[in-house]
């Protein structure tokens, strides 16, 4: 049976997106297009002509759920272009609040977006009726993530204190000690949450792809570093435009990114596949006990990977903060010079690149932002194409549910897709 499936509003994902499928008589997949229907905002154009120190504030508005990562990537890129070296304390505090963001983002995606699919509920709100303890635990962990960000960076969404050169305001020792206490108390909760995701019945679906993540020396990716591909290649952050190709396909309204003509994946699964040995003790233990084999090629396991990462990151922050004594520091002043700067950081959904060029007066002359979801877009499309043959005997309604689950498990963030564009071709699509 030939069929055209239009899924005009993919729900329970961050931002707005749609999917178009055209499946022929012989079950041949003629069309599989995943697109953002988020209106265009042109951040890169709006950043041009502004002062260098304004980039973190403006670009944070690209995305609510990963506003910290956008700020950090912008700060790194600007510091790289104007030549600022920051203190060890600044580095640590930056790690802290972006990890806070990763915790709240992971927990939100796992429980409110993904878990209802596996527990037969329509939404996280319905889950609160049937699995109240699970939802309460999730809310507690989200609050912890948010409170880490608020304490370190002054606000949980679009933080205020992190700036080029350091922090406007540093937390007190007492606040840091309280955070450590709460993190210790939260660790068992995070372990239980990860264990729960280790028991869910994920679809048995494997597809090989390249996994890209930041690589740090002797530590699971925290904040920034070189870019490592599971094929074995490593690139410095300045080389980012050497490995990937950004292009536009006539049939589509979006830009795509590929490496050597192939799609690749960024995010939790990629980070884990590339850095398994570097996980902390409890994270390793939960993974082992789950019986789920990693590295894995099953994209449905992304929420489970997020659970393992949450455990790992909580352990990691406790380790790093145990003997930390807060110093009173002022942000380091930039001596402005012309230059190009690249900032790379791991956002919850994968690595994020900001690139700026600044002239000798400190004015931004070029801005380029590459988000995780834009990188994952082609990978998601390819995964849908490969998954479809497994579910073709389902009717359209059931098929949509399964495809949506697959998209959702990738945790796309369509608000972030600065390079996505919306176009409606009147008439043309209908006859496809």
């Amino acid at each position: 049976m030939a069929r055209v499936v239009e899924l005009n509003n993919i729900t329970k994902v961050e931002g707005h997106a749609k999917l178009l499928l055209n499946i022929g008589e012989d079950n041949e997949i003629k069309k599989c297009e995943l697109e953002s229907i988020e209106g265009s905002r042109y951040f890169e154009g709006m950043l041009k002509g502004r002062r260098y120190y304004e980039a973190p504030e403006i670009s944070s508005r690209i995305c609510g759920i990963c506003s910290c990562a956008h700020q950090i990537a912008a700060i790194y890129a600007i510091e790289d272009s104007v030549g600022v070296k920051v203190t060890e304390q600044t580095k640590l505090l930056r790690e802290l609040f972006t990890i806070g963001e990763r915790i709240r983002s992971h927990i939100t995606h796992m429980h409110f977006l993904s878990l209802p699919d596996y527990l037969g509920a329509e939404s996280g709100m319905d889950l609160a009726k049937t699995h109240k303890d699970v939802v309460l635990r999730a809310l507690k962990l989200m609050k912890l993530g948010n409170d880490i960000i608020f304490t370190i960076a002054g606000r949980d969404l679009h933080p205020v204190s992190a700036q080029v050169g350091g922090f406007y305001k540093t937390p007190s020792q007492e606040q840091v000690d309280q955070l450590v206490q709460r993190l210790k108390e939260a660790l068992p909760d995070a372990i239980e949450a990860a264990k729960l995701f280790g028991t869910l019945e994920y679809p048995d679906f494997e597809r090989e792809t390249m996994y890209f993540s930041i690589k740090e020396e002797n530590t699971y990716p925290m904040l920034t570093g070189d870019l490592y591909c599971s094929t074995g290649e490593t690139y410095t952050r300045e080389q980012f435009d050497e490995f990937f190709k950004e292009y536009h396909e006539e049939r589509s309204t979006c830009n795509f990114i590929t490496k050597d003509g192939k799609s690749y994946m960024v995010g939790s699964l990629a980070r884990m596949n590339n850095n398994l040995d570097l996980l902390n003790e409890n994270a390793k233990k939960v993974l082992e006990e789950s019986g789920i084999k990693f590295p894995s090629n099953n994209p449905f396991l992304i929420p489970f990977a997020q659970g393992i990462e949450t455990v790992h990151y909580i352990e990691e922050i406790i380790k790093r903060l145990e003997n930390f004594k807060v110093q009173d520091e002022e942000p380091i002043k930039a001596e402005v010079k012309a230059g190009r700067g690249v900032g790379v950081t791991e956002a919850p959904r994968g690595f994020l690149i900001h690139e700026y060029e600044v002239d000798d007066s400190g004015t931004i002359t070029k801005a380029n932002i590459v988000t995780p979801t834009v990188q994952n877009l082609k990978c998601m499309e390819d995964a849908i194409k490969e998954y479809l043959p497994n579910i073709l005997d389902l009717n359209n309604e059931e098929l949509i549910i399964k495809v949506e689950e697959l998209i959702r498990s990738h945790d796309p963030c369509f608000s972030c897709s600065t390079h996505f564009l919306e176009v409606e071709f009147e008439g043309k699509r209908k006859d496809a």
Partner: protein, 255 residues
Amino acid sequence: MTKPKVGFYSVTGCQGCLLSVIFNEEELLGVLEKIDVKSFPFIKEKVYDGHLDIVFFEGVVTSKHDEEMVKKIRDQCDIFIALGACATTGGVPALRNFTPPENIQPLIYHKALEITDVDPSPVDKYVKVDYYIQGCPPDKKEILGFIDDLLRGKKPLMYSKPVCIECRHNGNPCLLEKGLPCLGPVTNGGCNSVCTNGGLVCWGCRGPAQDANFELMIKVLKEKGYDEKFIKQRIDAFEGLKYKEKEDAKKKWLE
């Protein structure tokens, strides 16, 4: 008493305002028991298409699709609340109105986009708004306060004093006096001066305060050494459209 039917909706934006609702972690479940949430795109699957008592609407209108959406939802509800900076002032995306076209042009990959794009605007350009919850993001407790007032049949009151009042109450040193480009004096508060508490100048995310004296603000900033271009860019970041609205109205009186 039947629970009010409430819808949360969003068009183009960062979805931070809807997240602010969810990030009321401790109160969330209690609130959800008191209202009948019919739509919440971020966490609910089914798309609801009926009458609503209260709507919280997030995002900036940047396309024909957004425009149709906001009009449709307004028609479906009794009380329409614009949620957050994008919906109330246009927020950062509305900066595009003040960005040179040559900055934007190279980013338009497809000709057809020019047809669907509209100048980014707050929702009150297209529909009647009953209440505004300001801020980028809004104060998450303020959202709960609105829900609580409406549940008790009270008319929610909007804060109408500049950021400086709360900033002083919080004991912060004046960043403007330090020579920094703080827009606190012309910006509506109600945010508990969260940015200046953290050492960051006010960028004006809640829009102009009542009787905001932009002329004096600009004069002071010039005296502090900021040039016209910088000052204009800073005001435009969040308050550009609302400031322009005020200026245009003033010009009309003079005609």
